[in-house]
């Protein structure tokens, strides 16, 4: 029954939207301006944002042109002052009616192109350019008048730091690339644009510094980008999934960040950055595992403090994965592992808990995830109240009602807090926490070790664009450690981390 109706509807819709499916190759530019305009109207049929205006030269009324642009995407001032005004008031004769004269001497635009390519035209006008049609001219002028509204530069919400620059990327590709270029004022900085996505044709920019970049990675990245065949790219994650590499991995293969200073730092180490129009998140490639624990703030504070912070983050990562399982392992299987007085206290307390510890742990972890998710989605005020209610009141009540043991709450609390240290690794944390917990419940401490081994092996196996995520284990040089696990002062870091780049080695000339 449903199938029947569905088919009928499909036919109706098809005929109605058949106009949409006509590709650009059906259209052709002609010499006659009227025909061109008619064609434009038809290409952008049903898009009421398109505005077409006829501009007539005041001294020579036979001289006119049409400009087409999208309302809202253009800077009206530029159109008025630099296109309409000069065209209207300048002294033009008949013989000036050619495109070269117009583009060179009449209108004032910093960036213009002549084109016969409909594809480029559509792309241009959809980005905020203005198209200028002239009579008896097949070529069309594409004028840069981009001026769409975008968010002002503000601090990224997810990567707040205490001290340091507070700029964050916005959704405009131009603005983002500018932010990077401002920090690297050299000709070595390369920015290449690409358009990806069949329908959206999203602008994607690839940035790198020529002298230090890892060429293999760059080539691999470009190859993969060119191979993308999808309808739309809306966000960096689309790209991350498409070019990340084969297989599923709980670990990210590309580092995403909203901070320009972070990106610049990575470019200087030889990485490649991918910026996507419409997303404030910039992706850097390749991604090393240790980057999950690094933050640009490390460079804005004291070196030793930064080192300790990093080490705490790494320990925190393992704490959040291992603590629930360790608790279960000790409590349920290996009572010998804790000193006797502690053991007796925990035993006394668990007398009151009705559920077996394993089940309790699963339930509590699940509840914690619920709370966390709710806290993220709720608007500010409700979120605060909810966390108080959830955490304090319910937790306290649960303990007093003897539904859960107090030590369990503490364990969950530690797990949760440690998990917030490395938000970027959330997916792996969740997966492995439950995986190791499962093994532990099954066979105790042995299971814990097996689960942990699986985690470590998985980390070891991770690759990002041909580069291993966990680098040289067999030959660790001090140079590698100095900026990875800990941060030594700038005076001590003379060379670039040699792992990623084969090119320029020295960071500083002296020393």
């Amino acid at each position: 029954m449903f199938g029947f109706n569905k088919k009928k509807n499909k036919v109706e819709i098809d005929s109605r939207i058949s106009g949409l499916n006509r590709s650009l190759s059906d259209y052709k530019l002609s010499n006659k301006i009227e025909e061109n305009i008619k064609m434009m109207k038809e290409i952008f049929k049903d898009n009421d944002n398109l505005k077409i205006r006829k501009v007539i030269n005041s001294s020579n009324p036979k001289f006119f042109c049409y400009i087409a642009f999208f309302n809202g995407m253009v800077d009206s001032k530029i159109i008025n002052d630099s296109i309409i005004k000069p065209f209207t008031i300048s002294n033009l004769t008949d013989k000036d009616n050619n495109i070269t004269k117009i583009s060179n001497q009449v209108i004032y635009i910093n960036e213009l192109k002549e084109s016969e390519d409909l594809g480029k035209m559509v792309e241009g006008i959809a980005s905020g350019d203005t198209l200028m049609f002239l009579d008896n001219e097949k070529k069309v002028l594409i004028l840069n008048t981009k001026g769409f509204e975008h968010r002002a530069i503000s601090e990224p919400e997810s990567e707040k730091i205490l001290v340091g620059p507070r700029e964050g990327f916005t959704e405009s590709l131009i603005v983002n690339t500018v932010m990077i270029q401002r920090k690297i004022r050299t000709n070595q900085l390369k920015i290449k644009y690409m358009g990806i996505g069949r329908t959206t044709n999203t602008h994607v920019a690839v940035c790198y510094i020529e002298s230090v970049v890892n060429r293999d990675v760059l080539n691999e990245l470009l190859t993969r980008l060119e191979g993308i065949d999808i309808d739309a790219i809306l966000d960096n994650n689309y790209i991350a999934e498409l070019i990340g590499g084969k297989g599923y991995s709980p670990f990210k293969r590309m580092r995403s960040t909203e901070r320009p200073d972070a990106v610049v730092g990575k470019l200087l180490e030889g990485r490649v950055a991918v910026l996507i129009d419409g997303s404030p998140v910039v992706v850097t490639v390749p991604h090393l595992f240790i980057e999950n624990f690094q933050s640009p703030e490390d460079y804005y504070v004291n070196a030793d403090y930064a080192s300790i912070s990093r080490i705490i983050r790494i320990i925190g990562y393992f704490i959040t994965i291992c603590t629930p399982s360790l608790y279960i392992a000790i409590e349920a299987f290996h009572h010998e592992m804790i000193p006797t007085p502690l053991f007796i206290n925990i035993a006394m307390e668990r007398q009151s808990a009705p559920l077996p510890a394993g089940l309790e742990m699963f339930v509590m972890l699940f509840v914690f995830e619920l709370l966390k998710e709710t806290g993220i989605r709720m608007p500010g005020n409700i979120g605060d109240a909810l966390s108080i209610v959830g955490a304090l009141v319910i937790g306290q009540a649960a303990v007093e009602a003897e539904l859960v043991a107090a030590s369990m709450i503490i364990v969950i609390g530690i797990t949760g807090i440690a998990g917030l240290l490395t938000p970027k690794l959330d997916s792996s944390v969740l997966l492995y926490r439950f995986l190791i917990l499962f093994f532990t419940i099954l066979i105790g401490f042995l299971g814990f070790i097996i689960g942990l081994s699986i985690l470590v092996i998985n980390i070891l196996n991770q690759e990002s664009f041909g580069v291993l995520q966990v680098e040289r284990i067999d030959s660790i040089k001090p140079q590698d450690i100095k900026d990875k696990f800990i941060r030594r002062g700038w005076k001590n870091m003379i060379n670039r981390p040699g792992y990623l780049t084969n090119n320029e080695i020295r960071k500083k000339e002296n020393g």
Binding site: E331, H335, A347, M348, G444
Partner: protein, 376 residues
């Protein structure tokens, strides 16, 4: 896809198998703190366990303990029998002491028990083995602790190696008992406890040590004797030396032993073995009521000499007593020969116990007073 769902289902279902195999929640078993071994009659052993009663323990009352008794033909039999009384499985991982009735030790020997305990994986190898001088070993567990509710832990504290408790007798752990029982040229000596009344309460009290021949109890050494005996085997932890000075100022002097070192050496002359024990003691002067003259180096030296002489004579007496009565090598002299010269030991092994009483043992003592506390 279907396979993945199946796997996930299997994984989730293990959540509910929370009773699977060795999963034993903390609240599902009974913690045993100490074990006492008696004999009920000719055939059966009577075991007493001090268990920690978790259901009655809470923050106000502290930890509460109970006693459980069970009988059986062998030790393991008796442990199984305990399941009838205790609602949960007994957990021995925290058992700190094993008390054996002295009669049982004398008649049956302890090597069966030791073998069982060391074979069992749950009981720790560091459990301390003791002898009870009372009628039954269980008597000791029925006493009340002064500072500690759990009697076994209390006994453990008294006998433990920690510096906080400065008694000089150290408990012997299970694995060492095994080593000594099967060792060459050593005999076992175990600490002995008895019950006394103090403040209308019954409390336990350390009361010297018991000597063994092979695995059977042989005799007792009193508290005082033990002190000097321990000098002989270099196991004195700390302790005090009291003696009185001669002459006009006939005072009691007490020296607190801080460190003691015994070097044993032997010399083989013809068919006789001559042993020399060199004992060096470092101590603090604790009690000395001096006259008008304050202490000076000469006085200290005098005291040291008197102390050494005193010590030497007492040790000599104890050792000669041991040789006469016991005739068993609790001084581990044979072991010394075994370690240094196994061939010689092989020759002497057979008659060692008989010859023990005739061994020539010479003692040299030296006392160093390092400190006189707060006073001159």
């Amino acid at each position: 896809m279907k396979k993945k769902i199946l796997i996930i289902l299997v994984i989730i279902s293990t959540l509910f198998l929370t009773g699977c195999w060795n999963y034993v929640g903390i609240d599902e078993f009974t913690i045993v703190a100490g074990i006492a071994i008696d004999k009920k009659d000719e055939e059966n052993y009577l075991l007493t366990f001090e268990i920690i009663d978790l259901s009655n323990s809470n923050k106000e009352t502290g930890v509460v303990t109970k006693l459980i008794q069970s009988t059986g033909k062998t030790i393991f039999d008796a442990i199984w029998d305990a399941r009838a009384t205790a609602s949960n499985k007994l957990y021995f991982g925290d058992a700190m002491i094993i008390i054996i009735n002295n009669e049982v030790a004398r008649n049956d020997g302890i090597s069966d028990f030791m073998n069982f305990f060391i074979r069992d994986g749950e009981i720790r190898e560091t459990t301390i083995v003791l002898i009870s001088k009372e009628e039954s070993a269980a008597e000791l567990l029925k006493t009340k602790g002064v500072t500690q509710n759990i009697i076994s832990f209390k006994i453990m504290d008294i006998i433990s190696d920690s510096k906080a408790i400065n008694l000089y007798i150290k408990g012997i752990e299970l694995y060492n008992v095994i080593n000594i029982l099967k060792g060459q040229g050593v005999e076992l000596v175990l600490p002995v406890f008895k019950k006394v009344i103090s403040n209308e309460n019954e409390v336990v009290r350390l009361d010297g040590m018991a000597t063994f021949k092979d695995d059977k109890l042989d005799g007792f050494l009193s508290f005082e004797e033990v002190k000097y005996f321990l000098f002989g085997i270099d196991e004195i932890g700390s302790g005090i030396l009291t003696f009185s000075t001669e002459g006009e100022d006939n005072h009691n002097v007490t020296i607190e032993i801080k460190k003691s070192n015994t070097k044993i050496d032997y010399v083989k002359e013809d068919t006789k073995i001559k042993y020399t024990l060199k004992i060096e003691v470092e101590g603090f002067l604790s009690e000395f009521n001096h006259q008008e003259k304050l202490l000076n180096s000469k006085k200290i030296e005098e005291l040291e000499k008197i102390a050494a002489k005193n010590l030497k004579s007492r040790i000599e007496k104890v050792i000669s007593d041991i040789q006469k009565e016991g005739s068993y090598d609790i001084l581990r002299l044979g072991n010394l020969i075994y370690r240094k010269d196994p061939k010689l030991w092989n020759e002497l092994k057979k008659d060692w116990n008989n010859n023990f009483s005739t061994l020539d043992i010479k003692i040299d003592c030296k006392v160093d007073i390092k400190n006189t506390a707060f006073f001159r």
